[in-house]
Subunit: 158 residues, 3 copies
């Protein structure tokens, strides 16, 4: 496929991330992160106020794996599916091999009975760097949701 | 515009495909396929079970053209419009000049009276190769819809 | 980040534009345009009929700035937020350093109480060229909305 630009590599990472979740391969989801990482789901209001607390919080790949195990236990995929649409990334900066990237997203939810709704919108605030093998992974992914109203079923990763 | 990467060429193909449908230029839609091709609309459930049957099925460009003629006959565009948002592609493999690509999509429907709804979400599973002129076209496009509940008005290509 | 292609530069422009609006930095919005520019919001029906009239019309950066001032006066962001998802661009032509580009979009609206809806879909018809500093900016952005039914709250830029 020839050499791809940094932007293309970031797009491929974002696409693969969404695809793993939407395909019900959430065991692959932690693999998109570095061992030392930060994953957080928060709201635009809380983010603006600088509140550290998130609706979901993990600061290691191990915590992400624990979360996956809990989701499997709860059989969340039995009841619903997600479809992520991730928009064009804005590359905000690059330093010491780490890219700071912001990408908008929209997630539709498809219930078991076939009904669909607009589940969440927001933006990903990412710190992306290559791991030892040269593969780009997230050091940090802050999921800032536009709406502060959350479905109590929030369970699958965003 | 300079040389574009394979990824860029695939994005341009996907963008042009959606644009032809949404602009009511469906006569151009079969031209995005090779003469020998497979186009199928199916559901995630049926796809997972390996069911070959699709809601819509065509295995040649001629069948696609027949479908366009039927759509024109039915005046489908009089009643509704579509708006496709196609997400970032994941390039899954490349062999003998053929790329296997998966791209998520979301389609909004806009009725004649102006009401809008979320019509369909899912993913395109594509086999893409250049034709004799060097233009990328679909050898295969399997449209896997997330929801099994289909509006009986399903008529325009997805 | 290495040299980026024209397509990448256009994607970055589109991403930055949407991000400024969605982040409530609308003072930055006029800066995406050349001094001499055309910005118009119209409907697919009116566009097809060749009607020049738009729901919103500005033919200079100064007019865009006036609009921003009016929006701030009206405290529009107090009541609602937008989330733009801009799809893959189709580059339709390039002449004398100016690219003609079409990109689909979808805008979700998030109200203060957390409710979300599909607010608008359509396509951007753009003329894009570099300014004196080499930065790509819009000479023209025609926003063609699919639906002719508009919320009277239409206030934020699309």
């Amino acid at each position: 496929m020839g050499r791809s630009s940094r932007r293309e590599a970031i797009e491929a990472l974002n696409a693969g991330y969404a695809r793993a979740i939407d395909d019900d391969r959430i065991e692959a989801w932690p693999e998109f992160f570095h061992e030392q990482c930060l994953y957080k789901i928060t709201t635009a209001d809380n983010y603006r106020r600088g509140l550290e607390l998130g609706l979901v919080y993990a600061d290691s790949k191990g915590m992400l794996k624990d979360r996956v195990a809990a989701l499997r236990e709860a059989n969340v995929y039995e009841r619903q599916r997600y479809r992520h649409l991730v928009g064009l990334p804005s590359i905000l900066g690059e330093e010491n091999g780490e890219s700071r990237v912001e990408s908008p997203f929209l997630v539709a939810r498809i219930m078991r009975d076939g009904t669909m709704d607009l589940f969440a919108t927001g933006r990903y605030l990412d710190r992306i760097a290559a791991d030892g093998t040269g593969a780009l992974k997230y050091r940090e992914r802050i999921v800032v949701c536009d709406s502060a109203r959350f479905d109590t079923l929030l369970a699958l990763p965003l």
